[in-house]
């Protein structure tokens, strides 16, 4: 099991948080922490997710990036180095 922290910048639209949670679960990542600032009335929301999985995090990043209202996804810890590419 690898632990990862993702920082996701979103276009602050309806249910963007729900979309991220759905994709994360469906793609096989377990959420063990979350901090979200959404529906702020500004254009920008931020979601910080701590997840773990045996799957490479690049898989989840790609899928979250595909959601329409996502501006940027960053992995905060360098566990990614071993799995990307």
């Amino acid at each position: 099991m690898n632990n990862y922290q993702l920082t996701i910048k979103v276009d602050d639209k309806q249910v963007v948080l729900e979309r991220i949670l759905q994709v994360t679960r469906y793609r096989g990542f377990l959420i063990h922490g979350i901090h979200a600032e959404v529906n702020t009335g500004t254009q920008l929301g931020t979601v910080v997710l701590q997840v773990h999985s045996e799957r490479p995090i690049s898989l989840l990043i790609d899928q979250i990036n595909k959601l329409i209202d996502i501006k940027e996804v960053k992995v905060d810890n360098d566990v990614t180095a071993q799995i990307v590419g």
Partner: protein, 561 residues
């Protein structure tokens, strides 16, 4: 005021505005079913120039929208009411998501004030949509409606295509909005793809001794059939196709080896297993294609062309990935190769393992019937299928000139797809011959759509391959579950000829080889809709078959000689 440059402000209701926007997007035909929460939209439809096709189940409407989209290369549109209407659409949305089909589904919703109160026919369709659409919207202010609808069309079409749902509460449909409707704001494609890695791909390609071109559904969706064929011609690469890729490669291309995967041709699967370079174009290494993944094309390096970043390295690592528009990227790699030995090895396999249509006895051999229909059907015929053995036989034994001529539920494998998809295809291509190849199980799943055929006098030709079984499941029970035939018998199906006649559809049943040619001619010559019931032996299997979790070169083959 005469000045045409000054936009006129017009007052619309949400419902009437919907039709204005549909027309702005070139929508001529929609498929749907009315109900309480979508009544204002149906009321506005009454005054609209948009043609509405009343289907007899919302699932039929969704599949017809998919068939329309796939056969015409346009966005398909369907309508449903809230609650059960919306849930009936869900299977269609899932199908469109799995096969990347651009449709826009409009659902009515209970009024905003009643939402969240477990109101009559209220379901959280927005919540349901998260798992089965590319994107979805719920409109909470009528002033957002124009932009939401424009975005729905843009999202359905851009990048990797897919279904979009717009849920519109009844009060929003009735609310008034003053707008010029000039603002046709298109989304800019937010995904900025990095420049394609052409250099390393060219190096891989030019050093390959045994390359294979692995063609998927993305080619048709990218409208890149010509570019793909030019690429195949110039490189001379032997090619294989997925179920959804069929029609992209010219079926007469001498280096084309047919479909790969679970029911692929022996030549295609053996060539892929032996190749040293796999050039995947708009294909996603689906489990039905790869068989046991870590034994799939074990010696091959991979060049992966796709529009969807998330497909790269998802199931198989790529040595070079080429992201973006195939129309641009394929020509960049179009170089001649000298692979004569490999070409002749593949040609020999193609020859040695060619399909055989000799078959003992008087009973009809389904592969031969489908081949004969394929040989006799007019150019530009569009074939739809349902799911099961007949689907695999159609994929194996019929030939298509373009991916838009073969509509089958690939990713989702949804029984009930064939008949309504054929209706959508016929609406979008009124002058082309449309043939629905179905099974006696699948046909019954959306059989109510015979009413839609009758109402609009659509000349769809329906070929029911009737084995009185859920054939594909029966085949697996025989092969992998010790012949314990659990719940796969359909010998009490209704009389399909009588059933068709109840919908004023001409029909005929055949059961002997000697009847096949005349029946096919009669069907194809008939002006209106026609149902041909082809009785076959319940024990026929689809061959070859790569058993689950097995490498593709270890296929099981037909035993009868």
């Amino acid at each position: 005021m005469e000045n045409a440059t000054l936009p006129q402000t017009v007052t619309y209701t949400g419902a009437s505005l919907l039709f204005e926007v549909l027309q702005q997007h070139g929508v001529e035909h929609v498929f749907g079913y009315p109900g309480g929460a979508i009544m204002p939209i149906y009321d506005a439809l009454y005054d609209s120039d948009v043609n509405h096709f009343l289907c007899r189940h919302e699932q039929g409407a969704a599949f017809s929208a998919i068939g329309y989209a796939r056969a015409a290369g346009k966005v398909g549109v369907c309508f449903a009411t809230s609650g059960p209407g919306a849930t009936n659409l869900i299977t269609g949305l899932a199908d469109a998501l799995a096969d990347s089909i651009p449709i826009v589904a409009i659902t009515g919703q209970v009024p905003t004030g009643a939402m969240g109160s477990d109101a009559f026919q209220e379901i959280d369709v927005f919540g349901l949509s998260l798992a089965c659409t590319k994107h979805s919207f719920q409109v909470s202010d009528v002033n957002d409606l124009p932009n939401v609808l424009h975005q729905a069309f843009a999202i359905a079409l851009e990048g990797r295509q897919g279904p979009v749902l717009v849920d519109i509460p009844k009060d929003i449909q009735l609310a008034q909005i003053e707008t010029t409707l000039e603002d046709f704001s298109r989304l800019t494609n937010k995904v900025k793809l990095p420049p394609a890695n052409v250099g390393s791909a060219i190096a891989l390609l030019s050093s390959a001794k045994k390359p294979i071109l692995y063609v998927g559904g993305g080619v048709g969706m990218a409208n890149a059939v010509d570019e793909l064929r030019a690429f195949a011609d110039t490189t001379g690469m032997p090619s294989v196709s997925t179920l959804k890729g069929l029609g992209a490669i010219n079926p007469d291309d001498e280096h084309y080896l047919g479909m790969l995967g679970m029911h692929g041709t022996k030549a295609a699967n053996l060539a892929v297993q032996e190749c040293d370079l796999l050039v995947a174009v708009g294909a996603r290494f689906d489990d039905r294609v790869t068989g046991k993944l870590n034994e799939f094309a074990p010696n091959a390096k991979v060049i992966h062309f796709d529009i969807d970043t998330a497909e790269i390295n998802k199931r198989r690592a790529a040595h070079a990935s080429i992201l973006g528009d195939l129309k641009v990227n394929l020509p960049a790699l179009e170089i001649p190769l000298s692979i004569e030995d490999w070409q002749s090895q593949c040609l020999a396999m193609k020859h040695d393992f060619a399909w055989r249509y000799d078959h003992p006895g008087e009973n009809i051999f389904a592969p031969a019937v489908l081949k004969e229909i394929s040989d006799r059907m007019p150019d530009k015929t569009c074939v739809t299928t349902d799911v099961g053995q007949h689907q695999m036989w159609a994929a194996q034994h019929m030939q298509f000139q373009d991916p838009s001529d073969f509509l089958t539920s690939g990713g989702m494998g949804t029984m009930g797809f064939g008949l309504p998809a054929a209706i959508g295809a016929q609406v979008s291509r009124p002058y082309d011959c449309i043939v629905a190849v179905t099974g006696d199980g699948s046909f019954m799943m959306n059989v109510q759509e015979l009413s839609t055929i009758k109402r609009f006098q659509l000349p769809v030709k329906i070929v029911v391959i009737d084995n009185a079984k859920l054939g594909m499941v029966r085949q697996w029970q025989d092969l992998f579950f010790n012949g314990r035939l659990s719940e796969t018998d359909l010998s009490d199906n209704p009389d399909f000829v009588m059933l068709a006649s109840a919908f004023d559809i001409k029909a005929k049943q055949i059961s002997k080889k000697s009847e096949v040619t005349d029946a096919i001619e009669e069907m194809l010559d008939h002006d209106g809709p026609y149902l041909l019931q082809v009785k076959i032996d319940a024990k026929e299997n689809v061959w070859p078959l790569v058993p689950p979790e097995t490498a593709n070169d270890k296929m099981m083959e037909s035993t009868h000689e």
